[in-house]
Symmetry: C2
Subunit: 190 residues, 2 copies
DNA sequence: GCTTCGAAGTTTAGGTCTGAAGTCTTCAAG
DNA sequence: CTTGAAGACTTCAGACCTAAACTTCGAAGC
């Protein structure tokens, strides 16, 4: 209860986001029967993700592109040879609507990151390919990301990293079973 | 009449999102020198978060509100007595701009989830409070979330949950040090 | 060959967010 | 007083997304 007194006395400081532990304490106060163990895992996951996306956003901004655009480049590269996909396929991989994909491709073509052409053998289809510049920006973004990610995990030993990866994979498998439909209408990096 | 046969033939193996392991393999192929251990942790984190947000979104949709609105209710409840905050404070806690907060509060007032009044002692300030209905929806949303979260973690033993929480907390601390400024311009739950 | 259906993209209308430019209130100094 | 500066919120313009209507092409049935 010291904090209450201190807070009364130091009333002016800018009210920031509560810390993870403060938030868990508040949850306990407002809702008995909440497992703090579970809450810590879930809230930490969410906060971590927010911070990671902020970091990625700053990095891609240095390249003059957005996270969203980097995601498109990544999907094209990871698709492998010949590094071309249709808008519909891209939309499914990124978890957004075909309409959004159309707009995004518009912008990226204008910026010289990708190309758009009609499929000659089936003129309804469109093919999106990556340009040299797009590929270069993808690579540079990836380089920056790996530096950040290594820094993020630097406190964890090799064994711990393995354990963490295994546990997260288990959780992921469980939600994927519960959500067989391609869930993912949210902008996010991975 | 023919629909049964048509459905059997209509295989439509629509190209979906690559699995986590496929993605890691593709990364290795396109960029030597990437640590698969690190990549697995980071990608699993991101995918998990996406799935969790989809799940939360479905739950809040059942209540007739959005994730974003539920977040506001949560911030008000977790603030504690008297469950009132200014728009600026709310915006800082949720990680969005004051402009967005104004709009969000507009909608929520119209829906009867929160109240908005001017502070009599300082007429520049505005005070947002939670209504009975808002509080009820927060509680119901939390109940649904805890069921989902318990299900998500059901494969992990108590020890594993503790370990996982501890490791994630360590990662979080590290990014928070690297990003001392309140990072968080992204919609997300926690 | 024509017609109809379905698939792939695009267009349009509307919602929510950001960043920048107001508006209004308070406070301190002249 | 009154004037200027700072703070809190709102308004405005622009970006990007979703849902739904539309356009076009290709394929199957008659």
């Amino acid at each position: 209860m010291v904090s209450a007194i201190l807070r009364l006395m130091a009333d002016t400081p800018g009210p920031a986001e509560p810390s993870l532990e403060e938030q868990i304490a508040a949850y306990q106060r407002e809702f008995q029967g909440l497992d703090p163990q579970v809450e810590r895992v879930v809230s930490a996951l969410s906060r971590l993700n927010r911070r990671m996306n902020v970091a990625y956003g700053r990095q891609t901004a240095e390249l003059g592109i957005s996270n969203a655009e980097w995601e498109v480049l990544k999907a094209l590269v990871l698709a492998g040879e010949p590094y071309r996909l249709g808008p519909g396929d891209l939309a499914r991989r990124l978890g957004l609507t075909p309409a959004a994909m159309t707009h995004r491709i518009d912008r990226m073509v204008a910026e010289g990151l990708v190309t758009r052409e009609r499929d000659e053998s089936n003129r309804v289809r469109v093919i999106v390919g990556i340009t040299e510049e797009g590929r270069a920006k993808w690579l540079e973004g990836l380089r920056m990301a790996t530096v950040f990610e290594e820094e993020l995990l630097q406190d964890l030993s090799g064994d711990e990293r393995t354990q963490l990866g295994a546990m997260l994979t288990r959780l992921l498998r469980r939600v994927e079973e519960a959500q067989p439909d391609a869930g993912g209408r949210l902008t996010d990096l991975d």
